[in-house]
């Protein structure tokens, strides 16, 4: 009697999958693009006088090389990572259907579980190589074009180059969590739809739907319960203290999605019939069986967040906007003072306060909108009078805002400030800020 053949080890299956993936010209092209294009983009944009100020940290691209990788991170979260996960994870199972190689693979490996694990690990490895490429390349482009200089955070405080580098690295690492979630959705789509293009498109479609959802005025609990929020919540790393609550929730939700979607993909894979060469997916019932648990996961996450935080409204309240603006103004005023070679004034000495209204008396003073108007007041040592300046705020649903100086022009008007790195716009003229959506505790 001959013993049944032993299955191939996961390590060998993993190498086999990597060989197949890297033999595809589109994967090679993606790797090349992810390791080269960001550097060229960041270097080119950083040297321009017109900067992408609509993108977070875009206005600082010619001031520090650490702004470039963050601009790239914002772009990656919205466009690049959903597409990359689609091409890699969304195709890793479907490609065997397209090529008609399932039976060959099964006879060679002799284990469904090991094939699944090898494929999941190989696609994950390729995605990590691509993400690492974007991070390293954009950072290298920024450093080479502009240099490693301090970065202005989202509350106006300055991060030393080493701290900026650490936070940039951490931000990219945090974004791996929602990337894993999308990759798992890609695996699920690839298993569920077989050779159908829907499987390939699923991560991109899900990411697009979630990005659209983030633009709607949804309650905070729902916003945070979607894995796409982790593509935004890294912003909280660039305030002092860091806004870790939304960041950790976003990562937790994303990892929950990654585990659930991978488990569903695995179960669908095990139940698949590989004896039919015309397989085109397990049908509507199985696809529903894949979608329902994920919808349930959103419901559970919403309930947990709503109960534990509690965060049922937009999360953008008058007091949080005022606190955020006052903090950012104080830090940036100090920066402006230094750039103008005036005596240093600490944030404590300034005792900045902000008074904000929204849309006059017709609407509630909360929520996103471009109709926020704030008056900032501050004091200077030895001066009796209180300084004041006006800002118009455009706050988006995710809590990010752009503060636009509305006078007096000597304080927050547009003028160039001479810095050791060259002329820069007045830091108090326009700046980015961030309102933490979760309830915050008063600072001591």
């Amino acid at each position: 009697m001959t013993a049944p053949a032993r299955p191939v080890s996961v390590a060998r299956g993993y190498r086999f999958e990597l060989v197949k993936l890297f033999a595809q010209w589109r994967i090679r092209l993606l790797v090349l693009a992810c390791w080269i294009a960001p550097a060229l983009f960041v270097a080119a944009v950083s040297r321009q006088s017109s900067l992408p100020v609509d993108t977070l940290f875009g206005r600082w691209m010619n001031a520090t090389g650490w702004a470039g990788p963050l601009v790239m991170l914002g772009f990656a979260g919205t466009y690049a990572l959903p597409l990359l996960t689609s091409v890699v994870a969304g195709d890793v199972f479907a490609s065997e259907d397209r090529l008609g190689t399932w039976r060959h693979l099964l006879v060679a490996v002799r284990s469904y579980r090991r094939i699944f694990v090898a494929k999941a690990l190989a696609s994950l490895s390729v995605i990590l190589v691509l993400v690492a490429g974007m991070a390293v390349s954009s950072a290298a482009g920024g450093i080479l074009a502009v240099g490693s200089r301090p970065l202005v955070g989202l509350d106006g405080h300055l991060l030393a180059p080493a701290d900026a580098a650490g936070q940039v690295l951490l931000a990219w690492v945090c974004v791996l969590a929602p990337t894993l979630a999308l990759a798992a959705i890609g695996l699920l789509g690839s298993v569920a739809w077989g050779r159908s293009p829907m499987g390939l498109l699923l991560p991109a479609v899900v990411a697009l739907a979630m990005a659209l959802a983030q633009m709607l005025p949804l309650p905070v609990a729902i916003r945070l319960a979607l894995p796409s929020y982790a593509f935004i919540s890294w912003n909280g790393l660039f305030t002092s203290p860091a806004q870790l609550g939304p960041l950790l929730i976003g990562i937790g939700v994303s990892l929950g999605w990654a585990v659930t979607a991978t488990a569903l993909a695995y179960l669908l894979f095990l139940r698949r019939d590989f004896t039919s060469s015309t397989y085109d997916g397990p049908g509507r019932r199985a696809i529903t069986a894949g979608a329902l648990p994920l919808a349930g996961l959103v419901g559970i996450a919403v309930a947990i967040i709503a109960v534990s935080t509690p965060a049922l409204g937009s999360g953008i309240t008058q007091d949080k906007v005022q606190d955020s603006l006052a903090t950012a103004f104080a830090h940036l005023y100090r920066l402006q003072t230094a750039q103008l070679n005036r005596p240093d004034v600490t944030e404590a000495q300034q005792a900045v306060t902000a008074a904000c209204t929204k849309g006059g008396d017709m609407v509630a003073t909360e929520g996103p909108g471009n109709d926020w108007r704030c008056v900032v007041s501050w004091r200077l040592p030895g001066v009796e009078a209180t300084g004041s300046a006006i800002y118009q705020l455009d706050i988006t649903t995710d809590g990010r805002y752009v503060a636009d100086g509305d006078g007096p022009k000597e304080v927050n008007g547009y003028f160039q400030v001479r810095t050791p790195q060259g002329d820069q716009p007045n830091p108090l003229w326009q700046f980015d800020g961030n309102v933490e959506l979760l309830p915050t505790h008063p600072k001591g």
């Binding site: 049944p4 191939v8 060998r12 033999a23 190689t101 006879v107 002799r110």
Partner: protein, 307 residues
């Protein structure tokens, strides 16, 4: 102690939903034999080959491969190789890379695995470093065979291995299979090409609607089958026609210069004897369709009609 058969199936049933792909099938394939599987589309050939490769497991019945009972999917014993529904090849890899990846998967060194030897054996040495994307169907079939040979199989399962092969390629592949059989490897192959099966196989199994309608040597098939149509070309067509009309149990179906006669095998033998006695030179005497094909058509027609 007797050598167990390479394949021993008893009462194998395999269903896909309401469709019965294999219906209480029995099959024995002796070691070192080239065994052909024939049947119309949907007869269950691919399902049976899939069971032999371990891709699926029967819903009912018992299956022993190389003396080992197979009770679950992907549990075929070591020494079973082959392909169903075409060879599984990766078009972005070269022929050599395809084989090397397979060898690495099995944990053997590329040098010791004999990649060059099998490429040479199937006649693909010249294109070993070309990407499979540009290969013709026949070249892919040969590379698929090479991939199976790398496993040094004791049971080789092939689905339509002659698909897309030119005459030279077919001869090459037939040579490889015949050599393997003489070395003790059992080959089970399916084909719609009756001439291929007749040239290669010592035994055939004819399937229809999931059931075995015939299994045994080709010679037995000829005697079991009904009347055969034979084409007859002679030196004197008119005299030959008269002889044929005079031969018992034989009918002249058509013809003037070339006659087509219909009769069982003994009557055909008698016709040849009578033509020789009448000093009529026989220049061609061949079946209009091969005996296997005739049997196939007759048996599968019976089966379909019986349903």
């Amino acid at each position: 102690m007797d050598t167990p058969p390479a394949v021993r199936a008893r009462g194998i049933t395999r269903c896909f939903g309401d469709v019965v792909a294999l219906d209480c099938l029995d099959l024995d394939v002796a070691t070192g034999q080239i065994h052909g599987l024939v049947g119309p589309n949907g007869a269950g050939k691919t399902t049976l080959l899939g069971l032999l490769l371990g891709l699926a497991v029967a819903d009912d019945g018992s299956l022993e491969i190389l003396g080992t009972p197979v009770g679950r999917a992907l549990a075929a014993p070591d020494g079973v190789a082959g392909f169903v529904d075409g060879p599984g090849l990766y078009p972005s890899l070269t022929a050599r890379q395809n084989l090397a990846a397979l060898v690495a998967l099995r944990g053997r060194g590329a040098r010791t695995a004999g990649i060059d030897d099998v490429l040479d054996e199937v006649g693909l040495t010249d294109v070993a470093d070309d990407r499979v994307r540009g290969f013709s169907l026949g070249m892919r079939q040969r590379l698929g065979l090479a991939a199976a040979l790398l496993a040094r199989p004791r049971l080789l399962v092939l689905d339509e291995p002659a698909n897309g092969l030119d005459p030279a390629g077919k001869k090459h592949v037939h040579g490889v299979l015949t050599r393997l059989a003489t070395q003790g490897t059992t080959v089970v192959l399916s084909s719609h090409r009756m001439d291929d099966l007749e040239a290669l196989c010592s035994e055939v199994t004819i399937l229809a609607t999931g059931r075995v309608v015939f299994s045994g040597p080709l010679s037995k098939l000829s005697t079991e089958s009904r009347e055969l149509d034979y084409r007859l070309r002679t030196s004197d067509p008119e005299a030959a026609r008269l002889v044929a009309l005079d031969t018992p149990k034989l009918r002249v179906v058509e013809g003037s210069e070339v006659l087509v006669v219909r009769a069982p095998v003994p009557a055909l033998d008698e016709l040849v004897v009578r033509l020789v006695r009448a000093d009529i030179a026989v220049r061609e005497f061949a079946p209009v369709v091969s005996p296997l094909e005739a049997a196939f058509l007759a048996l599968t027609d019976q089966q379909e009609t019986g349903r």
